[in-house]
Amino acid sequence: MAVKGFVRNMKPLDVLTGEQLEEIHSATLHVLRKTGVRFDSTRALELFEKNGCRVNHDTNRVRFPEGLVEECLRKAPSRFHVRARNPENDMVWGGNTTYFQALSGMRTVDLNTWEPRTPTREEYYDAITVLDGLENVSIVPWYTPWFGFKHIPPVMAMPEGLAARLRNTSKFTCAGYSMGCELFNIQMAQAVGAELRTMMAASPPLTFYEETIDAAFRIVEAGFVLLPTSGSVYGGTAPATIAGSLVSGNAEIMAGLVFAQLVRPGTRVIAQDFSFPQNMRTGAPAFGSMEISLHQAAFNQIWHGYGIPTDGGVCYPNSKKIDYQAGYEKAIIATIGALSGTNTIWIQGALYGELAFHPVQAVIDDDIAGMLGRFLQGIEVNDETLAVGVIDEVGPIPGHYLNQPHTRKWWKKEQFIPRASDRLTHPEWLKQGKKDCIAIAKERCEQIRSCHRVSPPLTESQEQDIERIVKEARNFYRKKGLISDIEWENYQKDIASPNYPYG
């Protein structure tokens, strides 16, 4: 069964002084009031105007009065319940609870050559099973495990992906938006009694495009959870300074939050920090950088001050391989995210930014999650854990604790035992074939894939609903001309496979 989040029993790490916090907050309000944010949606502009914002209809620029922003921050709940397909996997966002969620990647990688390739349908479904079977994965979000799989047209990647996740995991899942796919995503979630979390991604600097706004209207009106995010790159789409990128990014996220509260007051919002320094050689986001941690720690501190749950622990590595670099990049970002009190850490599975995912990597990352979860739980101090009676009973040598009932009762509660780490002695390690954590993770991954099954599976009528909605999406996009003849032909062959939908 999945871990129901880890409760932090210690003070969070604060990287900003009270004065710095205040300065960043004032600067953010100043940008919202003076510079404003561009919203390419007549409907949204009208909504903002009606609620006291200054709107320029030629430039689509919305300027926000401080009072409105602060009122909307108060309206957004600071702690809320979210429904998963299986009620046992429901989540409570906010407060001191930290959840771990899988990270997605565009393609899979070959574990021998490390070359990327598009996964098959079967691999896609199997990887979801692995994520469902990993104890510390609480969320299997959008685009997870991969952005799509072989033979499906790109426009169908999201509906097919959500259908696959609803089929092979009962954990909380999310859905993205693109080309109006949220219309189908919402229906699918409702068909299985689950709620969704969908992002509202700004196009920095300070812009929301029409498609994003349309999708956000639909998600908020459906009563689901909205995750406003900036997605900026400091030095490219945000100022190069961490303080400046916090101001511009937070202005974007706050604009999204105000939008959600105006559409539907009380909408559950999670603020996401998805920003990276710019790699000044390649122009790509500098995944795995140390500044990400500084940014996220400050972000978590600021938004918790506002009373808004955060998603501030995105652990994308830059490494292309499951290797030492992937390990330290993920572990450092996750650790600081956890210490600074984020409510969600994205960790299991990704390699090379968003460009690759492998379930074996997810198995290794699940141990990092477990280790951090253990740390967050802190130290239990009471009469029993202080163990004065046992210390007295055991006394000096030849006394020892291995044979004490106290040891048997407590050691497993106190120790987190990683599942894929090599913990053998040198001679045992030699005898067992010199397995490293990757070799052990491969075995565990295969064991979960072959033995684990989602609980509960979809009922027959839920399965029929999902299949009907996916079919409607196919026909919708085919009619809109977004699936070409050759794509349609390959897709039809894929659907006709005897193992469909599995592969």
Binding site: P398, L402, Q404, P405, R408, W411, T425, H426, P427
Partner: protein, 225 residues
């Protein structure tokens, strides 16, 4: 066997699986009061402890379980052994082991794990403790007619002491009478061979298997007896 006797035997078994030394000792005492064959009672515990050992090997149980079960068995064993002696029955033993951590080294937990498991497996163990000088090992081997010497040294600085003990055994002319196994975090197969030991194992359960191997004891054969 009466229902009452069956109940006592079941409690003895349960005591091992529940790591309950008190219940083990009580059940052993009751077993004798109610006329249960002490050899049979001992066998019940041996089978149970072997199941625990197997589960440990598979990674289902952990050291505290292994030691807990061994402690339960060791709480009951003296009671049954005494009865065997009284009835003139041969006490079954896989052999006599003299064990200790060598001179200069005060690390006891690894050595204690090995002696605990050796005892549970059916060896008679004379545990000399820590910081044991070569002369003390020699004296104990001669006094108890030991079949096996088990030495522990955790540190690279004290490992060499193991070699000194083996040299002393040779000087006393008893090296051929006793098998020698060495252990400790710093010890390697190569080192064991270099100093003329008969074997090395990195883990406590492995040490039990090594002891059996060195003395030519086979658990399965013993179970059949």
């Amino acid at each position: 066997m009466t229902d009452e006797q069956k109940g006592i035997i079941e409690n003895l078994r349960k005591a091992i699986f529940e790591y309950n030394a008190k219940l083990a000792k009580e059940s052993a005492t009751q077993a004798i009061e109610k006329g249960i064959d002490p050899v049979e009672a001992m066998n019940v515990m041996t089978v149970a402890i072997r199941e625990i050992g197997d589960a440990f090997e598979k990674g289902e149980l952990w050291l505290p379980d292994l030691v807990g079960a061994s402690d339960a068995m060791q709480a009951a064993s003296p009671v049954l052994e005494e009865e065997m002696k009284r009835k003139g029955l041969q006490k079954e033993s896989l052999g006599t082991v003299v064990a200790g951590t060598v001179f200069g080294d005060i690390h006891s937990i690894g050595k204690t794990m090995v002696t605990t498991l050796l005892t549970a497996a059916g060896f008679h163990v004379e545990d000399l403790g820590v910081n044991v000088k070569a002369e003390a090992f020699i004296e104990a081997i001669q006094k108890h007619g030991a079949d096996l010497l088990a030495m522990s040294a955790l540190m690279t600085t004290t490992m060499a002491e193991q070699e000194k003990v083996i040299e002393a055994l040779k000087r006393e002319g008893i090296r051929e009478r006793v098998k020698v196994m060495v252990g400790g975090a710093a010890v390697t197969d190569e080192f064991a061979e270099d100093i003329g030991a008969d074997g090395f194992e990195p883990t406590a359960p492995g040490a039990v298997e090594l002891a059996k191997k060195l003395l030519g004891r086979n658990t399965e054969e013993r179970a059949k007896k």
